[in-house]
């Protein structure tokens, strides 16, 4: 069915852009004249407006028949060169509308939270300008009806991520982290761009709907001995690994925690890092044609899920634990994508956005209360002092760990079930997912026990001032915690007696890439068993954390010393990947740079200096020629003229008689000449 034309979608990205422009250009003056409250209001209001428009789009979509649920807003023709016809056009279907609600809804809560969290910062306006700009770029990414516009948003969020990671730029470590994120992302973006080229080369369009309509053009097209569709999807996946922090490009996300905590919640947990998952879901019809790529996606996702979870076990920084948890959960989403469980992956994206944003904001609340202390070894016993933070953090942790009936339980269970039963899945993938779930429960409860239980290890100077955060921070926490509990009920799988409304809502989008329709018959008994196993493993993980960090039945140091401490050091140094990258790419680039420098100094400079010397020599010769030949000629002429004049002026004697003699003599001579 043809999309329904509307003109309201453009306001969804436009409002945050307006907010960013106002705060970006006039924010400093507004903050000086009208105070920080005005700046915050100018930043939160556009997001609230965008949320309202997203709700409007949602209602409009609900009013349409399921197979026609597509809204299209063509704003203007952007590029028209030959067969490349690209519009700035925004498209809302159930998939993008879901993301819209997440971005504007959770994003709005995080904006509100930031208003209080960043209160002490002088560059308040700059922070909100970037945050609004980020929201704009993310909304463009999600709403784009073609790959080029999507790439604009894709780059936009990358830029804002860079700007916000390095927001406190006076600390070199922050700017370095921002640069690292930007550069690693650039590697992924390269893949994304090449993927767009490959698609345009074969299908002759970059509009997603047109690609889907002309999939037959891809049949049998080969390049370098592999199908174009396989190559293109792999390249897109390279882009996704960069943006969504998958192995091997995951190294930037933990460092990105140098940014302000609400930024980590919005960009590095809830929205931007899920862009890769969204992109694969958006292009699912291509991935459905490329089973090889799907296997790669699932493999990378599973490896990331388990490796990041193991690193998360040993981190001491409260935000870094959450960062590795995010990497791990993104891995789980990619497993879902890799087994063709599109709607399950998107469902996990949504639930994850709720509980991970809640966890980050909770961590931010703890950090705020402890005056920017992030080391969990200097926390403990905060349960009574920060009750709201504690309870919301606990709920979100339960959701992340997959406790029954929470949001994370339903979404993770759906993914694990698909990983087992899908034609692209396997028990191995399921096993890795379950192990990841156990590790997740373990490190999250380790964090709970270290931060909120036990006796306080807080610096005594700080301890006296510990207080619960203001309402602007706790209200978003409570809403997100409530979401972490309730959102899961949108997608209760059939096996548990639910209708899975979420999958039904997304079904029109994923109708074509029917990888998950093949096993429509949920084997209820098997699913119950698998769920029970995964819950049991997660409980064991949590119990282990309880034994080690609460009961102290087993010493953490003793566990660290297993195998001579080698496994512990391996995890502590994040599998030495940063070191490996530094030794290979970092040093490689430096080597290239020094070679380039040598060539510059010796060859290029030599050529330049040589030509300069040559020019000087020629100039000297020319100077000689000028001084001797040209000047000599001119001077000689002047001298000759002067001498002639000196001679001639004697003729003018002033003596009339002389003149008369000359006259007479001349006349006489003329007469004589006439006569003869």
């Amino acid at each position: 069915m043809e999309p329904t034309a509307v003109s309201t979608l453009r306001w969804i990205p436009l409002l945050p852009l307006l907010g960013a422009v106002v705060n970006g250009f006039f924010g400093a003056a507004i903050q000086r004249r009208a105070g920080k409250g005005a700046v915050a209001a100018l930043a939160v209001a556009p997001i609230a407006g965008a949320f309202a428009f997203a709700l409007l789009a949602f209602v409009q979509l609900l009013g349409l028949p399921p197979e026609g649920r597509v809204l299209l807003d063509v704003v203007w023709r952007w590029i028209a060169v030959g067969s490349l016809q690209v519009n700035v056009a925004f498209l809302a279907d159930p998939l993008s509308c879901t993301l819209l609600l997440v971005i504007t809804g959770i994003g709005g809560l995080i904006h509100l939270y930031s208003a209080a969290y960043m209160r002490e910062d002088d560059a308040y306006w700059r922070y909100f300008a970037y945050l609004n700009l980020f929201t704009f770029a993310m909304l463009v990414l999600v709403l784009a009806d073609n790959l080029l516009l999507m790439f604009v948003g894709w780059e936009g969020v990358g830029f804002c991520s860079w700007a916000l990671i390095g927001f406190w730029w006076r600390e070199p470590v922050n700017t370095t982290a921002g640069n690292k994120a930007f550069i690693v992302n650039r590697i992924g973006d390269c893949g994304f761009v090449l993927g767009i080229f490959a698609i345009f080369w074969t299908v002759d369009t970059v509009v997603v709907r047109d690609i889907q309509a002309h999939l037959t053009l891809l049949d049998g097209r080969m390049v370098w001995g592999m199908p174009v569709v396989g190559l293109a999807t792999l390249l897109f996946f390279v882009g996704a690994t960069g943006k969504s922090a998958q192995i091997p490009l995951h190294v930037w996300l933990p460092d990105a925690m140098q940014g302000p905590t609400p930024v980590s919640a919005l960009i590095h947990a809830a929205t931007m890092v899920t862009a890769g998952v969204y992109m694969i879901a958006r292009l699912h019809f291509l991935y459905a044609l490329a089973p090889g790529t799907l296997a790669v996606v699932a493999g990378v996702g599973a490896a990331t899920a388990i490796l990041a979870a193991t690193i998360g076990l040993v981190q001491d920084d409260i935000k870094r634990v959450l960062a590795y948890s995010t990497v791990s959960q993104l891995g789980v989403m990619f497993v879902a994508m890799g087994v063709g469980a599109w709607s399950a992956g998107v469902f996990h994206l949504v639930t994850h956005a709720f509980f991970k944003a809640c966890l980050f904001l909770g961590a931010g609340s703890v950090i705020h209360a402890l005056h920017h202390e992030q080391d969990m070894r200097k926390m403990g016993g905060l349960r009574t002092q920060l009750p709201v933070t504690f309870w919301t953090f606990l709920i979100a942790t339960l959701a992340l760990a997959g406790a029954p009936l929470t949001a994370g339980f339903f979404s993770k269970d759906e993914i694990l079930w698909q990983a087992w039963s899908s034609p692209h899945g396997s028990p191995l993938l399921w096993g890795v997912g379950v192990a990841g779930a156990g590790l997740t429960a373990c490190y999250m409860f380790r964090q709970i026990f270290l931060v909120f239980f036990g006796e306080s290890r807080v610096d005594p100077h700080v301890a006296a001032h510990v207080h619960e955060s203001p309402a602007a921070m706790t209200v978003p926490l409570v809403i997100l915690a409530a979401g972490s509990l309730l959102v899961g009920f949108l997608g209760v799988p059939e096996a548990f007696g639910g209708a899975n409304r979420f999958a039904a809502w997304l079904a029109p989008v994923f109708a074509t890439g029917h990888a998950e329709g093949h096993h429509a018959v949920h084997a209820a008994n098997l699913e119950w068993t698998l769920t029970a196993i995964s819950v049991a493993v997660a409980t064991m993980g949590a119990f282990l954390a309880f034994l080690v960090y609460q009961r102290r039945a087993v010493s953490a140091d003793a566990i660290a010393a297993i195998g001579g401490g080698a496994p512990y050091r391996l995890l502590l140094h994040k599998y030495f990947l940063d070191e490996v990258y530094w030794a290979t790419f970092g040093r490689g680039v430096l080597l290239l740079a020094s070679i380039g420098g040598w060539i510059d100094r010796r060859v290029i400079d030599g050529i330049v200096d040589g030509s300069a010397t040559l020019t000087r020599g020629i100039a000297r010769l020319e100077g000689r020629f000028d001084a001797v030949v040209v000047d000599g000629l001119v001077n000689a002429l002047a001298k000759a003229t002067g001498a002639l004049g000196g001679r001639l002026r004697r003729v003018q004697t002033g003596n009339i008689n002389t003149y008369l003699y000359v006259v007479v003599g001349t006349v006489t001579l003329v007469l004589i000449a006439r006569l003869f």
């Binding site: 003596n655 008689n657 003699y661």
Partner: protein
Amino acid sequence: MPGVPLQHFLVVGLLLFVLGLYTVLTRRNAIGILMGIELLLNAANINYVAFARYSGAPTDGQIFAIFVIMLAAAEAAVGLAIVLGIYQNFASIDVDAAHALRH
């Protein structure tokens, strides 16, 4: 006087011209030079009148001679005025005194 041939008149004119020329060339006195010029002009007049007498159109030469006399009068007036100017400037009428344009 039909007995007097043309050559006599021409010789007289020539003598008169040579005398005038000699005067002009040798005098340093400005007045003397002017007088020499008068002789030259009158020598030319004699020639005019003589040729007129012996040619078929007697009036043409005579008219020319009258013009020359009139011109000589005007020339004498201007010349004497210049001599007066020289005298006022140099307190002399020696033409060699007026050599200010020489350098």
